[in-house]
């Protein structure tokens, strides 16, 4: 009887340990930083969506709306993101896709982030003028997003 009780307790304890492991005890500060940078990505996606809908012809071109979206992109790309990428907040935590290479190739990450700001600046200069300029500026923006994702975002 005693043995059975012990086994049952041990089983429950092990299940509990398994569950809390699966739950992931990520430091709340790190979890918050990951959420913050993912929010930044969402802001990119939303504003790119406005510009892209016009570029694709899904939405009529509107200079004011386009300019606002482009200005947002430029502003978001200018955020100081230092505290959003704490050491160790990579894909090993299981809740994000950041490659550990980010922290070993930091100068290259900064270069690629700079390329995004440049592309966003070109978009901000073009988006409010005409649709052709907006369309032309989308390609380099996509290239800047893709360059960083190719190197530093895991599947």
């Amino acid at each position: 009887m005693k043995t059975k009780f012990f086994l049952a307790t041990a089983a429950v304890a092990m299940m509990g340990a398994g569950l809390s492991f699966a739950d992931g005890h990520v430091d709340p500060a790190v979890a918050g930083a990951i959420k913050a940078r993912q929010g930044q990505m969402q802001l990119y996606a939303h504003n790119l969506g406005v510009l892209g809908a016009m570029a694709k012809g899904d939405m009529d071109y509107n200079a004011e709306t386009a300019q606002a979206a482009a200005d947002n992109l430029l502003a978001v790309s200018g955020l100081n993101a230092m505290t959003m990428w704490p050491q160790g907040s990579d894909n090993s935590l299981g809740n994000n896709r950041a490659s550990p290479d980010i922290w070993t190739n930091f100068p290259d990450v900064v270069t690629k982030a700079g390329a995004l700001s440049t592309a966003a600046g070109d978009m901000a200069a073009a988006a409010g003028k005409d649709l052709d300029g907006l369309r032309a500026a989308m390609g380099p923006l996509g290239g800047a997003c893709g360059a960083c994702h190719k190197a530093y975002r895991t599947k």
């Binding site: 790119l48 969506g49 996509g142 994702h149 599947k155």
Partner: protein, 294 residues
């Protein structure tokens, strides 16, 4: 006993002859190339559509209009790790000095100038469907790119897959050089088929493979697997619900309809397709939409 031995010996010799014939390297018809001259400017879009730089530039290179094809990228597989060779115009370490026929045999038949089979990590089965003029133009363009003196690195492939001759058997079994889409409804889809099936070799990653690495053409573009990278999505019309415009725009900019951006090996494809014309991107989208519903 001696009689049995003679029989076995005869069978072995016959088997050997059959193996020798089955694994004999087949070559291009040199008459197809005899009157053609290469045009580097026309070869540039062929080069980008065929995605040569994606595998043959140095590891972690950024995309450029004038890539250095030094090789060195590693491709893990169930059969070993393949290391892309130097195909820059360097005469010693690259492919400088190759004749048009040597180049065509390499690209379209997977046969080296000295008659050895290449591993099908090199998508020569797709390139077999290239037009001869495009092959010659491609060569002309590649000759204008910078030379690299990076030496070739041997593949890390173990027995029995390291027996080059046996690749002739692989080709005999699996190298189907016919179109998957037999009939095309219009010129745009015909162009899209040429881009997707021959040049861009979409099927190499997006089609599942059998245990020996042959493409499962019955499940064309129904989703594949890249070792080390993971699952590759299905892009058949029942699975990929994007509009033709969405597909073309994704190929141009890497943006999905949700404005996420392409990742993994697909970023290379976007880098290449961004350098092609809007008509060509639309043609690939039209081809994907024209695939038969399973």
């Amino acid at each position: 006993m001696a009689r049995l031995f003679r029989w076995l010996l005869a069978l072995a010799v016959l088997g050997g002859i059959a193996f020798w014939i089955m694994t004999w390297p087949t070559k291009v018809n040199s008459d197809d190339f005899a009157t053609l001259t290469g045009d580097a400017a026309r070869g540039e879009p062929v080069f980008h559509a065929a995605g040569c730089a994606s595998c043959h530039t140095a590891p972690n290179s950024d995309a450029t209009d004038r890539p250095i094809l030094s090789g060195g990228q590693r491709f893990a597989s169930d059969f070993g790790t393949f290391i892309a060779p130097n195909i820059s115009p360097d005469a010693t370490h690259g492919i400088g000095g190759w004749t048009v026929i040597e180049f065509a045999n390499a690209v379209q038949k997977g046969v080296s100038p000295d008659g050895a089979h290449y591993f099908p990590a090199f998508p020569y089965v797709a390139y077999a469907k290239m037009e001869a003029q495009d092959v010659v133009d491609l060569k002309a363009f590649m000759e204008t790119l910078p030379a690299s003196d990076a030496p070739r690195v041997a593949h890390e492939v173990g027995f029995p897959f390291n027996i080059r001759r046996s690749l002739g058997g692989w080709k005999w079994l699996f190298a189907d050089e016919t179109w998957v889409m037999k009939n095309t409804p219009n010129a745009e889809v015909t162009r899209g088929r040429y881009l997707a099936e021959a040049l861009a070799h979409c099927g190499e990653c997006h089609t599942p493979r059998n245990p020996l690495g042959g493409l499962d053409r019955a499940n064309w573009l129904a989703g594949g697997f890249i070792p080390g990278e993971g699952k590759v999505p299905a892009i058949t019309p029942d699975q990929l619900e994007w509009s033709t415009q969405d597909i073309a725009y994704y190929l141009e900019t890497g943006f999905t309809p949700e404005f996420d951006s392409a990742g993994g090996a697909m970023t290379h494809v976007v880098e290449n397709f961004g350098r092609l014309s809007g008509e060509d991107r639309a043609a690939v989208a039209a081809y994907l939409k024209a695939l038969a519903q399973p």
